[in-house]
Amino acid sequence: MIEFNSLNARLWSKLGQRATFGMTMLELGRELDDLVVLTGDLCTTSGLDRFRAAFPGKFYNIGIAEQNLIGISAGLAKEGKTVFASTFATFGAMRSYEQVRLNLGYMGLNVKLVGLGSGFSMGMFGNTHYGIEDIALMRAIPGLAILSPADCTEVVKATMAAALRSGPFYIRLTGVTNNPIVYRNDYAYEIGKAVCVKPDSDIAIIATGSMVHHAVEAAQILESRGISAEVMDMHTIKPLDDDALRTAANRMKLIVTVEEHSIVGGLGGAVAEFLCGLPHAPRQLIIGMPDAFQIVGDYTYLLEENGLTGPHIAEKILTAFNSRTDY
């Protein structure tokens, strides 16, 4: 049984999101008879070596063949299995896009696609491996739920919640080892319910994945300048937490979304689609990767260059907040 405490939070943070995912699968392998895990030649990268050794009958390495990875996963799901399939986010969300649409979306089969190393996590691998558009693509598929955990503790929570809920999921993992900790202690996690990480007024910073940590930092900087900002962990991008957004729209002067994803079609797009349907909604600032391929660099460099760190985020929010006179 996995325990949620500060000791484990530190341990998992050191491992990073991928290894934490693998560790969670090892635990789930003991608990769920019908669990099956597949990967596309990324067993070690997915942190699944111990799972493979412990449960050889529940593990398949499909090789470098992502279309087939999803197709076989779908067949196993049709036979009643709870299936996890892992590959890099770019390949899972793009190379096998139509397989995901047909099998997970249209047929709603019980497959959890785990996108490893999304955002800028792949560093020196370069743009071929960056997860820039995966949220936008996965979000466009009807019926597919999207989870984007804020830290390693939330990876455990999200993985377990997805395993226990029948239906298709895309689980997006970001960051590298020494993944910043958002949750030091146990907390209530529910698919589709955003977590208010820092309650406050005036500005709502709605962040997802790795950006939750940086959003908290940004909110602290803003606070030191006399501006109060709330931080919300939108760990489920689909279905969105409409209630939380409606409340934020009613209470706040500015809504900010922050994501390690293109500003096209990601969390920012999802929130904007919701807000524009409200009779009165505050202005929205979308912070994310620019709509462009990147100069290659390591993870920290790329976050810095793209303005996705606490100080940069705070600066952008300040500019937007101060540019309005009608508050």
Binding site: Q67, N68, G71, I72, L76, A77, E79, Q99, N103, Y106
Partner: protein, 275 residues
């Protein structure tokens, strides 16, 4: 006459009924048109599968022990739906809803286990991978069910077919049977002009147990489809067929890949078909 001869005769009669039924459906589709050529080429394959090979229970279509059939070439519904009716999985009334707005039997199948429809297809190159999943699960839990996946030879242009082909052999899935409707035509014309490939050699090279049959010879099909697989390899049956089989002005004509059948054409076609 032996019982086997009688079975063959019954299956041949079933195929004749199905071919006429397919044309009635094509006519009923009106201006929507239908994949006429691709449906007619698989009539005998479907008749033999649903009339003599597949272990299914029409009273309990989702029965766990059933053989799984995936129509990966989803545009073959003119061959598929009549077989489902012959097998008692759908009613005549349901069949009449073919390509009707909001109906359960559109031009390409939609998964509906209660009606024995295993998989939503239409987009090509998906079925074999899914069949591997079904076969793997069967092996792992010791279920005797077999998995049959029907593909087109044009469909084998898709790279995903060969990803699956490689994996099925790797997992030694001798409970999996791929059937290739080798009618040598695809949407734009002759396969050899569009993407010439020696599929038979390719399946062999991938390590499959390859059988080649006359895809309109019911006896050949019945024997080959029913043959126990004593190897540890998956089996592919390359069924040599004629696109649009049975109707002279449809056979081997690219324009009949998907087309509208007029009343006059229907009457002319029916005159060519044995009752």
């Amino acid at each position: 006459m032996t019982a086997r001869d009688e079975t063959i005769q019954n299956l041949e009669a079933m195929a004749r009924r199905m071919r006429r039924c397919a044309l009635r459906l094509a006519l009923s589709a009106g201006n929507n048109g239908a994949h006429v050529g691709s449906g007619l080429s698989i009539i005998e394959i479907m008749a033999v599968l649903y009339g003599g090979i597949l272990r299914i229970d029409p009273k309990n279509p989702a029965w766990d022990g059933r053989d799984r059939f995936i129509l990966s070439k989803g545009h073959g519904t003119l061959g598929y739906y009549p077989a489902l009716m012959e097998a008692g999985l759908i009613t005549r009334e349901e069949l009449a809803s073919f390509e009707k707005n909001g109906g359960i039997l559109p031009g390409q199948p939609v998964m509906n286990l209660e009606k024995g429809i295993e998989y939503s297809s239409g987009t090509l190159g998906h079925g074999l991978s899914v069949g591997i999943g079904l076969a793997l699960a069967g092996k792992r839990r010791g279920s005797p069910h077999r998995v049959f996946v029907l593909m087109g030879d044009g469909e084998c242009n898709e790279g995903s077919v060969w990803e699956a082909c490689m994996a099925a052999r790797h997992y030694r899935l001798n409970n999996l049977v791929a059937i290739v409707d080798a009618n040598e035509m695809q949407s734009d014309g002759a396969r050899c002009d569009i993407m010439a490939a020696d599929y038979e050699a390719m399946w062999r090279a991938f390590g499959w147990d390859v059988r080649v049959v006359d895809g309109h010879n019911v006896k050949d099909l019945f024997e080959t489809l029913g043959m126990e697989n004593r190897t540890d390899s998956p089996r592919v049956i390359i069924a040599r067929t004629v696109k649009g089989k049975g109707v002279s002005f449809i056979e081997n004509k690219a324009e009949w890949h998907h087309n509208r059948l007029t009343r006059e054409q229907y009457d002319a076609a029916m005159r060519e078909l044995p009752p």
